[in-house]
């Protein structure tokens, strides 16, 4: 999930970000409109088949799903208990398909292209006082700092582990919050330094 963009020249890479986002939205909606197990299975196979078309490996596809396996497990168990095995399988396959589809878009689209598209698409909100460029920058920062925050979390956890505090939520959360706030200040200064005019 952290290696967001995978460079390439495949037909999917070359598609416009707007078209990809539109396909993703239509596909996602379709999976909820046509809610049947065979359709969800077919969509899953189709999305999976698009990974090699985009020059992506099975390992990369698996990497998108793997961190969420525990959520799939919980959903599957709950649905099986509440509604039966078929519904449980349907819910999990539909969720996996959606995640693979969204990941395919992020893996084949540069953040800057995605942001340019979103900024243009949100242009109609300007009369309401919304600044689409700010939204675009916020999305970019979120994408950029996911791995940085993950690294900070690892460092803080390791530091607390050496002090025998690995089970203390506060001992991890407090230094993380302080470092994140300090980092946010520095990032804001850096953005200002680089000529950003909102």
């Amino acid at each position: 999930m952290l290696d967001l963009y995978s460079p390439g020249t495949s037909p999917i890479h070359r598609m416009s970000p707007g078209a990809k986002i539109l396909v993703m939205m239509l596909g996602g909606t379709g999976l909820f409109v046509f809610d049947s197990l065979p359709i969800a299975c077919a969509a899953f196979v189709c999305v999976l088949a698009l990974y090699p078309v985009a020059g992506l490996t099975a390992k990369q596809a698996w990497a998108q799903i793997r961190p969420l396996l525990w959520i799939f497990g919980i959903f599957f168990a709950l649905q099986w208990w509440l509604s039966g095995l078929t519904v449980a399988a349907f819910v999990v396959i539909r969720l996996a398909t959606l995640i693979l589809l969204a990941s395919l878009v992020t893996l084949t689209t540069r953040a800057s292209d995605m942001i340019d598209t979103i900024t243009r698409a949100l242009g109609f909100l300007r009369p309401l006082g919304v600044n689409p460029a700010k939204i675009g920058l916020a999305i970019s920062l979120a994408l950029r700092f996911i791995p940085v925050l993950a690294q900070i979390t690892r460092e803080v956890r390791e530091a607390q582990k050496t002090r025998g505090l690995e089970r203390s939520v506060i001992a991890t959360a407090m230094p993380m919050a302080i470092r994140t706030i300090k980092m946010a200040d520095d990032i804001s200064d850096a953005i200002e330094s680089r000529g950003y005019r909102p």
Binding site: A190, I191, G195
Partner: protein, 224 residues
Amino acid sequence: MIEIKSVTLAYQDRVVLRDLSLGISERRIAIVGANGSGKSSFARLLNGLTLPTTGDVLVDGQNTRSHGKDIRQNVGFVFQNPDNQIVFPVVEEDLAFGMKNLGFPKDVITRKTDEILARYNMSDLREHPAHLLSGGQKQLLAISGVLVMEPDYIVLDEPTTLLDLRNKRRVTEVIQALEQTVILASHDLELLHDFDRVLVFDEGRIVADDVPAKAIPFYIDRMS
């Protein structure tokens, strides 16, 4: 030229810079001092990231109070931790950020990106995720992101502090080759020997202002 006129900087009751007045016209100026001596606060004054509590900072005649945004385009700033300076997830996108902000045309952005990546042997990292770069590569990317904006002045706040020896040497070579006016805050005294002028800070005051051959021994003596 940068002029600092009777500048004091305070955060509530804590005074971090006390009544500084000086002009900066040399091409290479170093700032040294213990942690908390005020050197980073001083560096931040130079491009208007921080405004003085009293007094004025003028860059080529423009006051940071009234022309902050224009001054920040002309005074590039490199932070200690490059992770806090890289805004976009991919190298090429981050280099383009500052140029887009300045309204450079797309072909100019592409050309300048090519040039800067080639200059620092990073062409193969063009589409690389920024978070997977080494510390030295991140700092080079941060410096490159500033250079492509073509500033006349570059302020660097402890740019080698977080680097290992090999990366420190590489970044040092890059800093030494910069053609712009360089203002460098650093604990790395080896880096400062060929500078024109060294300012030694202590408790918010400049306690020495001289050539490296005199200012550095003074600083070492004061710290021991």
